[in-house]
Symmetry: C2
C-alpha cells in the first residue's frame, strides 16, 4: 500500500525525452484542511509546459515523471474541513500558481503572485511536504489550496474557461493594473494564446486595442476579437502614424533578440506609457539605452499572472460580456500531448489561438 | 554692423579642442515678442556640458564656437511686448530646455520636456531662425521665451538656485511624478550633482530616502542632506535586508556596463516599483531579461527634466524648506572653465556636489 494517495497523469520523464508522455500513477500531496480535490475535465496548453519539460527554463523536479498543464478546469470532488471559498460539486479552475505564504505584505495586498515564496502548479516541491512535487493538469485529479481554486461561472464552458486561467489572467492583470479602459489606447504585441486574450479583454474593458504583429495575416481575426486595427511591423514606417499615442503596450513576444526593434515599439508610447512584457523567453535579453526611454519617459516592465481577486473579476467580465476564448480542442492521450506540445514548440504562431486537452473521461474514466 | 545683436561667451570651437575656451562674441537670436533678455549672474556646471562639447553625445552645432551651461540665473533686463510671466528687473533662471512647440498634446499637458520638437538651451538651431544656434550660460546674456524663464524666490541665493534648474528639476520631476512622499521609500543611486538633489527633494517631500552608493565615503553628507541611510553596493549582501521594500529608485548612474548589477537594484523594488534613470550615459546599455522584472512586476524607465509647473513647485518647496544646494563656486574665466569641466570629466564623483560659475561681472562687466 503506497504511503500517499495516487493519481494518474500523462508524464514526461526528462528534458531529453520531453516529447514522450507516459500515462502513469504519481504520489499526490496529502489532502490538507484547506485543499480542494478536483476531478479534472480539461486543461489548456501553455508554452510554459514546453519551456518546463524541455528544460528551457532550467532544471526541474522530474523524479519518476512530471505532469505539466496549468489551465485546469474540473469538478470539486471534496473540500477540506477549513475550506470556505469552494463548495463540493462546484465547477472550478486552477491556474499556474498553487502556493504562496499568504502572510507577507505582497500576499496580503492582492499581490500573491509576487510573493517571494510563490510556487507553481507543477514541478514545485510543496513547502509542507518535502519530496512531493506539484503535478499539473494532464492528470486525473489535482489537489489545491482553496486560495488558488476559482469558481467557473455557468456562462463559460469548461474548455473556454480553461485557457483563461493562465493565458487569460496573464493578459488581464497588466491591463487592469495599468488602467486599460475607455479613453486609453492599448497595443498587444503578438496575436497568439496570450495576445488573443489581450485583445478580448482590452476591448471588453473599453480600451482602443490594437494588435501589433509582423504581418496582416491575422488582421481579420484580430478585428473579430474586438481590435481597433492591426499594425504590421514588416511594413515600412509602420509606427509613424501612431507615435506617442499608446498608453500601454502588452508584449507577448518570446524573442527580444535579432529583429526585435524595441525602439520602434517604445516610439508608440505616450509620455510615461508602459511596455509590459508577459512573454517568458527561454534566453532573450532586452537591451535599452536610457536615451531610448528618455524621449517619452516611458517604462519597460513585466507582469506575472494575476491575483485571486483579479481572477474572479476576469471570469465575471468574461461571463458578462460573453467573451469566448478561441480554442482548439484535442482529446488527451500520450500521442496527442506529444503532437500538440511539439507543434506549439515548432510553430506556436500557427495555433488559433489556444489548444485545450479534453475528453478526460475517456482517458481516466468517468 | 552685424546683422544680429551680439553677446559675449566662453566658447568651445570643436570636440577636438573641448578643453579650450575662447572668450568671444556670438550672434544672439533676434529678440522676439515672448522673449526675456537676461543678464547672467551665474551658471551651474552640468555633465551635459562635457558630453556636448567633447562630442560624446554625437555631433553638435559648433559654427564659430559654442557656449554651453544650462543652469542659468540672472536678471531680466527687458521683456518682449507679449511677455506676461516675467517682469523686467526680476531675478530669473533658465534651465536645459528653451523651446518646444507649446501646441501639441504633450506641451498642453505639462509634458513640454517630452514634446517631439523640444530644443535645448544650447547647441540647438532656433526653429524660427535657421542658422542661429542657441547659446548657453557661460555667456554674458541669454534670450529665452518666457515659458522657459522662471522667477527665483528671494529665499534662494543665485548660486544655490542655479544648479536646481537642471540637476534639481531632473531629480525632482521623477520623484513627484512617481509619488515620493510620506510612507514611500525611495532610493537614490549615486550621490553626485543629480543625486544630492534626489536626497534633498526626496526627504523634503517626506519620503524615506536612501542613498545607494559604492562605498560609505559619502554617508555623513547623505545624512546631512536628509537621507535615512546609505546602502554600500561594495558590501556583500548589501541588498538583502531591503529586498522588495523600495517604491522608487532614481538612478543617476552614467554607466550601466561592467559592474552595474541591475538585478540587485531591481531586487530592492516592491511590487510594480520603478527604477527611473536620469543619467545620460554616452554609450551604455541596460540589459534585462523579462524574468528579472517579473518577480516583482517592476518597471524600468527614464525621465527627462521637468515641466514649467514642476520648476515653479520645486523652487517653492526649496524656498519653504530652506533647501540649499551644495555648491562649489568658481569664478568664470577661460582657465577656470577648462579646469572645471576637465575635472568633472575625469573625476565627477569627487565634486561636492555641484560647481557653479560665478563672478560674471568681472568677466563681462557690470
Amino acid at each position: 500500500m503506497p504511503e500517499y494517495d495516487q493519481f494518474t497523469g500523462f508524464q514526461v520523464k526528462s528534458p531529453e525525452t520531453w516529447t514522450t508522455f507516459h500515462k502513469q500513477k504519481f504520489d499526490a500531496k496529502p489532502f490538507a484542511d484547506y485543499d480542494v480535490e478536483i476531478k479534472i475535465e480539461c486543461c489548456g496548453v501553455c508554452s510554459s509546459d514546453v519551456h518546463t519539460i524541455n528544460g528551457g527554463w532550467g532544471s526541474q523536479h522530474f523524479n519518476d515523471g512530471l505532469s505539466v498543464g496549468h489551465e485546469i478546469v474540473g469538478r470539486a470532488l471534496r473540500v477540506g474541513p477549513k475550506v470556505t471559498l469552494i463548495k463540493e460539486g462546484q465547477r472550478v479552475g486552477v491556474g499556474a500558481q498553487s502556493w504562496s505564504c499568504l502572510e507577507c505584505r505582497q500576499c496580503k495586498n492582492d499581490n500573491e503572485t509576487y510573493c517571494a515564496h510563490q510556487r507553481d502548479t507543477y514541478g514545485a516541491e510543496w513547502p509542507e511536504y518535502p519530496g512531493i512535487i506539484s503535478q499539473g493538469g494532464y492528470s486525473s485529479h489535482v489537489r489545491t489550496h482553496e486560495h488558488w481554486v476559482f469558481p467557473i461561472p455557468d456562462e463559460l464552458p469548461s474548455h473556454i474557461a480553461a485557457p483563461m486561467l493562465c493565458a487569460g489572467i496573464t493578459s488581464y492583470s497588466p491591463l487592469v493594473r495599468n488602467g486599460a479602459g475607455p479613453g486609453k489606447k492599448v497595443g498587444i504585441v503578438g496575436l497568439g494564446g496570450l495576445g488573443h486574450f489581450g485583445v478580448l479583454f482590452g476591448a471588453a474593458l473599453g480600451a482602443e486595442t490594437w494588435v501589433i504583429s509582423r504581418s496582416r495575416s491575422k488582421e481579420e481575426d484580430a478585428k473579430k476579437m474586438g481590435a481597433a486595427g492591426l499594425l504590421a511591423t514588416s511594413e515600412k514606417g509602420w509606427n509613424e502614424p501612431h507615435k506617442m499615442t499608446f498608453d500601454l503596450i502588452i508584449s507577448t513576444s518570446n524573442n527580444f533578440g535579432e529583429g526585435f526593434d524595441l525602439a520602434a515599439y517604445l516610439s508608440l508610447l505616450d509620455v510615461h506609457g508602459k511596455f509590459v512584457s508577459v512573454g517568458m523567453p527561454e534566453d532573450s535579453t532586452l537591451k535599452i539605452s536610457p536615451q531610448q526611454l528618455n524621449g517619452s519617459g516611458c517604462l519597460i516592465g513585466a507582469s506575472h499572472l494575476g491575483s485571486r481577486r483579479e481572477m474572479l473579476d476576469m471570469f465575471k467580465l468574461a461571463a458578462e460580456k460573453k467573451l469566448h476564448s478561441w480554442v482548439v480542442e484535442v482529446p488527451i492521450s500520450e500521442e496527442n500531448l506529444s503532437k500538440t506540445l511539439k507543434d506549439l514548440h515548432d510553430n506556436s504562431g500557427a495555433v488559433k489561438y489556444r489548444y485545450c486537452m479534453v475528453d478526460y473521461d475517456k482517458a481516466f474514466g468517468a
